[in-house]
């Protein structure tokens, strides 16, 4: 496998999928973020921390515009990061993934990784809009999230290795992962913060987050599969 071809294919796929994710967030997630941050602003006016003046709104508007542009940049960064992991796992596992099509292989792997490192952690610790998280609990919430993410992700990796080594009754590996992650789900404590805003807003935000993250994983799989098929970074041509 040629390093440069491989890296180029993986990084371009991650970057493009990340940009798609960023733009999808602008359309689907940002309206919920604006509403939630509007509630934060009202709380600041009520507490006297800020004053409801034209200057405030001018500064706020410029700041939010910068953050929305940052969302695209953040999408690119996260796309490259997650795409790097995805490409790496794809390179190691594509020979055991069923199907002759690189796109179908990538989509299947994306479904597995979406489930283990996004959806299962999302079920336990779902995305929340601003105003929900208490700044004083950020260290605890981060620890809980990272521990559960690691348990689910490394659990999936461990049981997939077991799956490859098993000669018979391979479905037991899936069952083993389900039991393992189920126990972690029950044992791990929930986020400590109470939600004090409308659940319609929270659930709408979570649904939008779920949709755009799913768009990201599908996009990364399709783009990686297409690029892999076209450039075949795993192929080595020798003259004899």
């Amino acid at each position: 496998m040629k390093s440069l071809h491989f890296l180029t294919v993986v990084l371009i796929a991650g970057l493009l999928a990340g940009l798609i994710h960023g733009f999808a967030n602008i359309v689907l997630v940002e309206p919920f973020l604006d509403t939630a941050i509007g509630i934060e602003n009202q709380r600041m006016f009520t507490s006297g921390e800020a004053k409801d003046t034209p200057e405030f709104w001018k500064t706020y508007s410029d700041y939010r515009l910068w953050q929305k542009q940052g969302s695209i940049i953040g999408g690119a960064m996260l796309g490259v990061a997650t795409g790097s992991l995805f490409g790496l796992v794809f390179a190691y596992s594509r020979h055991v993934l069923p199907s002759q099509s690189e796109i179908k292989k990538a989509l299947l792997l994306a479904a597995i990784m979406w489930t283990s490192i996004f959806f299962i952690p999302f079920l336990k610790y779902p995305a929340n809009p601003p105003t929900v998280g208490d700044p004083s609990t950020i260290a605890l919430r981060t620890t809980l999230y990272v521990v559960f993410l690691a348990l689910s992700g490394f659990g999936a990796l461990g049981f997939s290795i077991l799956y490859k080594k098993m000669q018979r009754k391979r479905s037991l590996a899936f069952l083993g992962y389900a039991v393992f992650v189920g126990i972690a789900f029950i044992v791990m404590p929930p986020y400590p913060d109470k939600i004090t805003i409308s659940m319609d807003l929270v659930n709408g935000f979570r649904m939008a987050s779920l949709i755009t993250m799913t768009i990201y994983w599908i996009a990364n799989a399709i783009i990686l599969g297409l690029l892999w098929k076209k450039f075949q970074p795993n192929s080595v041509t020798t003259r004899i």
């Binding site: 990061a81 790097s84 790496l88 795993n234």
Partner: protein, 74 residues
């Protein structure tokens, strides 16, 4: 007698992933994932010092993506 040289190409699939590529991808994954998901000024503090923890430039810039991707925030 004219000699004819016949060149043949052999294309084979090689599954071995180069170590340098593995290292590059793992580093990019670690830095990017931390920057978007968890940074509270740590990365810029390497250059800016303690001022970065108050400013939290990366955190603020990737704020919306952090929320949207399910990372804990605030």
């Amino acid at each position: 007698m004219k000699m004819t040289k016949v060149l043949q190409q052999l294309t084979k699939s090689q599954g071995k992933v180069p170590k340098v590529a593995v290292a590059v991808l793992l580093v990019l994954f670690g830095i990017g994932f931390f920057a978007v998901g968890f940074d509270q000024g740590q990365i810029f503090s390497l250059v800016q010092g303690h001022q970065a923890y108050g400013q939290m430039y990366l955190h603020e810039m990737t704020h919306d993506m952090r929320h949207a991707s399910g990372f804990p925030c605030h």
